[in-house]
Symmetry: D2
């Protein structure tokens, strides 16, 4: 059997944090990179160990283990969560299985990292949060994977908001624009089916921007008014993947059962206004998560397509010399930058997962609840539910349940 890939040399004497990961697709690859790299870049109190990876297809999961550096494999996640040599379960599956796996892992005494969205329904998320809080009393930690909090530029933005650099908040405008559904011939993958994905752009992209907006604002949304739309309602089935689909017609197409786009406006608790847009139909926008915050003393703006930059306008300066400045977030005292490269040598998307691993390892070592917690994930879920409710009720302003 292969040696487990370790993110820190065995001889260092650091205690290990043995990770078991469920799922090995896009998120699995990204999380693997995070676990494998965190201890190479940062001084960590524990040594993350890529112990076990789990997937239903034995050959495929073995190949994934080799590719990504996991020591062992399982084909049943129930077996994985019960293993004694696993300290933390990292859930990288589609949203419909999050609740079941997380509840089992918490029950088995493991720490849990769960990909976003926390769940497909508020009910599931509520149960998970309750379980996490109880487990927390036993010293177990649970975190949800809103990785975009861990871009250095967004973390810097949060720090600047907390320092009062933009003052009383007036506006937050956020959009998460992608374009991979523009072509009506793009196939009906699991992300377009409600039973697996829960919702469409709303749960996938909207969850990210709701979390990020509230995190940066440092406050929660009070209510929302929403429009959603499914532009293309029927799509060809993916090759060799028809089984399991609810409705397959003769032409080999199936129904899209989630939203293609979601627009909503809202009010923060403080009275600030917010606008949100999540879509997969913004032709030419590949991964344009954009957020701007306007406060009485300044403004901040960020675009994920240029993730090493943060725009800042200092409204307290004389207008003569003021303007939005482009901070290249690569300085040694910027968040997460202590371990990386000299100024101007940018990071990429996957680094958010390295930072997520770093933060979670610290939380485990120090025994403190990590952020975002399952409770944070539940609250995002409540916002998404209010969005869906408003959209169903003719866009009427819908308060977020507390």
């Amino acid at each position: 059997m292969a040696q487990p890939q370790q993110s820190e040399g065995a001889e260092t004497g650091k205690p290990p944090l043995r990770v078991g990961m469920v799922g090995y697709a896009f998120m699995g690859a990204a999380h693997s990179q995070g676990w494998r790299t965190a201890g190479r870049v940062f001084d960590l109190p524990l040594r993350p160990e890529l112990a076990v990876i789990c997937g239903r297809d034995a050959d495929a999961v073995r190949a994934a283990a080799d590719r990504h550096g996991w020591a062992e494999t399982e084909t049943d996640w129930r077996a994985l969560v019960e293993r004694d040599d696993v300290d933390l379960v990292d859930i990288c599956t589609p949203g419909d299985s999050h609740a079941e796996i997380a509840l089992a892992a918490l029950a088995a005494g493991k720490h849990v990292l769960c990909e976003k969205p926390l769940a497909n329904t508020v009910e599931e998320a509520r149960a998970m949060t309750r379980a996490a809080e109880e487990a927390g009393e036993r010293g177990q930690l649970a975190m949800v994977g809103f990785n975009y909090r861990r871009v250095p530029a967004t973390a810097l933005a949060r720090r600047m908001v907390a320092e009062g650099r933009i003052g009383t908040l007036r506006h937050v405008r956020v959009a998460y624009l992608q374009d991979w559904l523009v072509d009506p011939q793009f196939p009906l993958t699991w992300r377009l089916r409600r039973e697996q994905a829960g919702s469409g752009s709303l749960g996938d992209l909207g969850a990210h921007i709701v979390d990020l907006a509230q995190y940066l604002a440092g406050e929660r949304l009070a209510g929302v008014s929403a429009l959603t739309e499914t532009f293309v309602r029927e799509r060809p089935l993916p090759t060799g993947a028809s089984s399991g689909l609810a409705a397959v017609d003769a032409a080999g197409t199936g129904q899209v059962t989630v939203d293609d786009a979601a627009l909503f406006t809202g009010r923060f608790a403080s009275g600030a206004l917010a606008s949100f847009e999540a879509t997969r139909y913004a032709t030419g926008r590949k991964n344009a998560l954009r957020i701007e915050l306007n406060g009485e003393r300044g403004s901040l703006a960020f675009d994920l397509e240029r993730l090493n930059e943060l725009s800042f306008h200092d409204g307290t300066e004389p207008a003569t010399h003021s303007g939005f400045r482009r901070i290249l977030v690569t300085e040694p005292d910027h968040p997460y930058l202590e371990g990386w490269w000299p100024p101007g040598h940018g990071l990429g998307y996957e680094h958010t997962f390295v930072h997520q691993a770093r933060d979670l390892v610290h939380a485990v070592a120090e025994g403190r609840t990590p952020e975002p917690s399952f409770a944070d994930g539940l609250q995002v879920q409540r916002v998404l539910a209010a969005v869906e409710e408003s959209a169903e009720k003719n866009s009427v302003y819908t308060p977020i349940a507390a």
Copy 2:
């Protein structure tokens, strides 16, 4: 008496178009520049003549006439609209007097150019439109001054949409962001009082973006869902301007009676989704009218702060070499560019008024209804009314009255 300033030499034999302008503040200066310059840059069928300018204060209007090149002055707009030597009345006053002046001018047989918004209420706008249509049968023209249709980049965008370059429309996102109210000590000017301005950012900025969005889309909004807010409800009175305000308190402050910001989402007739934001609290954004259209075949984006540029993504190209391109809209075959400078030599804000004058002169000479017509202005007013209605009714989706 001074010779009237002419936009084309008298000896050319071209018939004149004698303009009488009411109002001489910001818009008056901008329109003057337009009338004065149009015939210097473009080959016009008529010779615009800056005949009479009107304002209540005789000295001030005389000074304005000298400054801006108007031959004569009036202190009563009723006198101006009755003058035989005026062919066209150009209304540059606040919105509360648009209807009265326009109706009188149309009744007096004049062509009319009316600044936006067409009126402060749908009722006024309806009456004006009816009068304009009747006058139209007598050969009189009426146009509303949505000048942002006449930025070369927006006109090019319209042409490209009409050519099918972006295909079926999916999304329109528009924001008009300014920041001049961020300071709570900014005084209570007429623009902050409902009785004169009709509404706040909605009528001032929102009217522009509703018109521009519909113009570029080539279709109309079907309904909207809206939030509005007044962040700062009490402001100091402007120096020497307390009289006439409804409510002046002991501290020398007064109530802000209009919206500070308006957010709304909507659906176009075709099913495309739209989001709108108009605010005067976007710290650091000075005149950021931004619009993006996403269609099945491409996308277009524009920012008024960089008005010589149009961003275009051609979605029909292979992804390998595609991306948003920055078209510098200064080529000879771009709209309005035939009269200006070589490629790369940009235009500014005021040129929209030169282009507006050009287009209106052509319409008058050719006897065809100019765009945007009063009917277009009325329809914008209906959208604004639906926004206000939705905002009052808990953001419920509100159809636009036909």
Copy 3:
């Protein structure tokens, strides 16, 4: 006879400044716009009067007069400079006639505005400067038209450098990139013939950037090392324009006798390093005059294709929050902005000529030597001569003659 177009009402009692302009092509149109508009926007001590315009073809110049608002015409510039009713001669012809006209105008007691480059040779420029200095003692003013000093953003940059905001200068990098010669079939216009244009991109574009770099730096170049190149040495003759060309071959083509591109590096008197590039072969760059200054305390950057913006990096700020900021140069206290529009409402290329007219009118009224003087123009010519000398001498570093 038509009334002269006035930039300020006759009844104001302001004394006139009667302008006679020679040439009416691109620069003639731009200067006309400047003279016509300056008094409409700024409070001027004198009233510019578009008195006489001169060109060799009587019909064409009459048409130009009508188009641009000039009262009278001449077909012989010698007649124009002798007219008693002309106070200032504005020279808008190609460079080969600058010296002769300027010398005659100065001899006739006129103020002179001469388009850049001041002349085609150092000898001519020296004679012009000497004549201007002698005329200066008689109260006559002479200015050279480096209009890019009068973009608000460049004027602000100059002010900031003078205030010490960038500290000791280390680097100046400048490029003026156009692309109108990329096509080898573009015809052989006067700008490509040494006998009329003096040089190619060097005199046309290089003169602008040498002046602007020295103006912004606040110091002069000490020496240069240069490469020049003519990429396409033979071009088709312009239609109907073969006469007067030195060498026309059977195929209807002629020799390009000027440089297509000029690259040079140099040292400023202070020891700062500079690099320059002037070309008409930068495909896709339409009018990209870009300049960046790096000093010990900060940096400034400007691009003429975005002329309402100035980039500023304040090196004295903590690195954590610093970055290049984009100053939108449209604030009331920015240079030249007192007369224009509210913040964010940008200006265009031609406004530089309005500002040039404003500054020259003030200089005339106050009797002080305007900047840039003919001596400044001569010094630029000396730099260009050193560039040509270095290019001929294998790029050897060539000091600028004092």
Copy 4:
């Protein structure tokens, strides 16, 4: 003893490529990341093994081994190059030791990867190249680490140039701007001492841009004309690092013996013109390696501070709709992207080292000479030598020795 960190699971049966690395500072960390990650992302024919790392200080190199995942350590590079269990020697030391180590490693039968610049002198580079060519006949490979060829955007640019998309080349302008020496109190590190670094910004930054410019152009420079400067000639010694410096004065300062900035122009073999600037005094520019190529049919532009983007202007399109487009170089068919994330999910600086490792592993497996070869590195060294010679000889144009 620790298990060697492997970039691919042992059980896959792939033969290993056992790497021995000399040096473990900035470049050592970056190369480690490359070797560790390449096989996790790409399908490699060999399995890179982080076998031995070498440094003079036993404790420090042991800590580095733990941090970066190397199995064993050496304190004498001579021992490392002689080890039977090392297949490839990766040289990450300062330039003054490159030649000695590389020659020994080649003599010992190893493949070699040598950081840039290949050497500190042409003589050393020539000897290394000769040795590499002889070793090549024995099947050993040698590559120099110009990692910026392996940014997906630059690799795409190269592909597009090779496809003829920009046509006949006219201009290449390149700058590599940093600002870490602006502060005169920054200490005198090894990079500022000729005996170790060979040269200053020239060898550090200039080497990168000379290689990149020639790589993208697909041709070599024929000659150069140069200016160099040392702005701050005396600097404080680094704490605890005075020993070994040639000249330490009483005040604890020492002489800077390398250039602070180097500017040079040049001609490519085809006649295209080039300009280069390398400096550490460009306040606010952190890692701004910028290159633009203008050809008769199009242009390409790149900025390392936005490394996921490539600007492309297609000059064959109608001017009406053309402009520089921003290609987000994150599509599956872009160079190196097959192994990474979905479109729009950007990469960072260190990925260039992953790609370098990937390419070198393929070259070793396939037995073909990798690019850039030592001969390429020698040629860059010759350009740098010509730059220094020209700078010493009054900037005279200096041909590049063949």
